[in-house]
């Protein structure tokens, strides 16, 4: 017994001595990954007159850029718009997603296999390849610069992944539960609401997190669908900051910081759900 303890201690010191490179490498990786965020923070807190290197600390804490970003840039309104759009997208993807997943998980008829293939291949569709048809459809439905327009478009492209996640989860719920409910006289609807739905909490967290971040950061469709500046979401507002030549870059940095903080905080708090969500969304052909 004592011998074993000795060996493992010896192993331990041996390992430690040879691990310095892991710490050096990790430090390098962390610096490379934090540098951009560090630079944005430095710029946001510096006065526009401070022409020192963008990496150096501000001489004094300057909050004027934040004031400017919040005043001129329509930023609070954009946060509100983004929140409304994100909630709308999540609601559709959760409700329509778990509903569509139920027959996909339970019913193995030819028709359902066909639907599954459609769902899987729709996950691959490059969204902007159909932008011409999409945009002209929204114009004819008067959906440009409306909440429902951008919500439905974003949700339509997000639904396949949400259906896929729910379908995998429901497949793992024993079908005997459904059968027991059926024998007790529950209708299909009742079975879904009272047997399946209460068990979906874990996968719903994954869907909300993955799709919520996607909707919060959505840009490609918003760029064309949200044309009135009072309908702008976060990403469009940041774009506006940067493309207006009159705006100083420090205010833009402050705006960018305000835009990325919510998602980073959510991530740091709910990290393990993000990792789980990433793994769940991996499509295996």
């Amino acid at each position: 017994m004592t011998q074993q303890v000795k060996i493992s201690q010896k192993n331990n010191t041996f390992l430690r001595k040879n691990q310095w490179w892991k710490y050096a490498l990790s430090l390098l990786i962390i610096v490379i990954y934090l540098l951009p965020i560090y630079a944005v923070i430095m710029m946001a807190f510096k006065s526009p007159q401070d022409l020192s290197s963008r990496l150096s600390m501000p001489k004094e804490l300057y909050l004027g850029s934040f004031e400017k970003a919040l005043d001129s840039g329509n930023l609070l309104n954009a946060l509100k718009n983004t929140a409304i759009i994100t909630i709308g997208v999540i609601l559709i993807e959760v409700i329509a997603g778990c509903m569509a997943a139920y027959p996909l998980a339970r019913n193995h008829a030819k028709f359902n296999k066909f639907v599954m293939n459609v769902v899987l291949s729709m996950m691959m569709v490059p969204a902007l390849s159909i932008v011409v048809g999409m945009y002209s459809l929204l114009v004819s439905l008067h959906g440009i610069s409306t909440y429902w327009g951008i919500i439905l478009v974003t949700a339509a492209f997000g639904l396949p992944l949400s259906i896929f996640l729910y379908r995998n989860f429901i497949t793992a719920i024993p079908e005997s539960l459904d059968e027991a409910a059926a024998i007790d006289g529950a209708s299909t609807l009742q079975t879904f609401f009272h047997v399946i739905l209460p068990q979906l909490a874990p996968v719903t967290v994954s869907v909300i997190i993955m799709k919520g971040i996607g909707a919060w950061n959505e840009f490609a469709f918003s760029l064309y669908v949200l044309q009135k500046s009072k309908m702008y979401n976060i990403t469009l507002t940041i774009k506006q900051f940067f493309s207006e030549t009159s705006t100083d870059l420090n205010a833009a940095a402050a705006g960018a910081l305000i835009a990325i903080l919510p998602t980073i905080i959510v991530y740091l708090v709910l990290q393990k759900y993000f990792v789980q969500g990433t793994l769940d969304s991996a499509v295996k052909g």
Binding site: N107, V131, L137, F219, L223, T235, A259
Partner: protein
């Protein structure tokens, strides 16, 4: 039970309606518009058959965008998989702080691609760009990185790979943790070197993870859009344009809706066929021990 199953199919209705109206119908519309000459808003649409497709194959900028799309797709996939696996191996080994590395490498995924492009703009501009500041320390002369077609494409590739490598890392990490340690123990008894162990145990057993990562990364980077818009907007000229940005450029800037639609149809089939072929190829490769 059979009647119940059929009733169940009604549950598809909401999702199917949304997807039919906003994905399937726009696709058909796009295909139809691709056969017409149309400015995108006027009432006049002229049927011109396959003319848009013919001019597509005569358009040097289309081939440039297609080439860039392939560069973004292939290079980002390579970088994200090689570095994703390397990071996963590092984080999977036992040392203090491996959790911190994982947390921080995954973090940029939370930042919108457009915003990341603008942040990187601070690094790459000629005037007070951070990259020039850093390189000056090593005696490299400052230059305007984004005005060079080569560097524009290079930096878009690097930034996109850097931002999203965390996804691959997490997937490879899960793959590594699924490999039973007993295999490595047995190999150690047989005197197998670390490299041989990696080559003959780790890699073959990671094939499912490799498959998933390669396909998701490839499809994702072939669709690259956001970071291009904010970093170069396709420029200088059209030299960093991807198919996605070129479609929107033709549609909204050049007002050639029919032509944009034709490139869209091409892009659509290109990516759909590619992902199908890849899925089939990898399905044959899976190993079981």
């Amino acid at each position: 039970m059979k009647r119940r199953y059929r009733q169940m199919n009604w549950f598809y209705l909401p999702a199917l309606l949304v997807m039919l109206l906003f994905v399937a119908y726009p696709f058909l519309q796009t295909a139809q518009i691709s056969l017409m000459r149309w400015n995108g808003y006027g009432k006049v649409r002229t049927f011109i058959g396959l003319d848009n497709y013919i001019s597509m194959f005569k358009d040097a900028n289309f081939f440039l965008s297609f080439r860039n799309t392939l560069i973004y797709g292939i290079c980002c996939t390579l970088l994200q998989n090689v570095f994703g696996l390397a990071l996963a191996l590092l984080v999977n080994s036992r040392f203090k702080g491996n959790g911190l590395v994982r947390t921080i490498v995954y973090m940029p995924i939370m930042i919108a691609g457009v915003v990341m492009g603008y942040i990187m703009y601070f690094f790459l501009t000629f005037n007070r760009g951070i990259l020039n500041d850093i390189l000056l320390v090593f005696g490299v002369q400052p230059r305007d990185w984004l005005s060079s077609p080569f560097y524009a494409v290079l930096f878009i590739t690097l930034i996109n790979s850097w931002q999203y490598v965390g996804n691959s890392m997490v997937m490879y990490l899960a793959g590594l943790q699924n490999i039973p340690t007993a295999y490595y123990e047995a190999a150690a008894v047989d005197g197998v070197s670390t490299w041989q162990g990696f080559r003959h145990i780790t890699l073959p057993l990671l094939i499912p993870s490799i498959q998933t990562c390669v396909i998701t990364n490839l499809i994702g980077s072939l669709k690259l859009f956001d970071v291009i818009v904010s970093l170069t907007n396709g420029g200088p000229g059209h030299s960093s344009q991807s198919l996605a940005t070129y479609i929107t450029n033709r549609y909204f800037v050049a007002e050639k809706a029919g032509y944009a639609a034709a490139i869209g149809v091409f892009t659509f089939f290109f990516i759909m066929i590619l992902s199908n072929v890849l899925n089939r190829y990898f399905a044959k490769k899976e190993v079981q021990y």
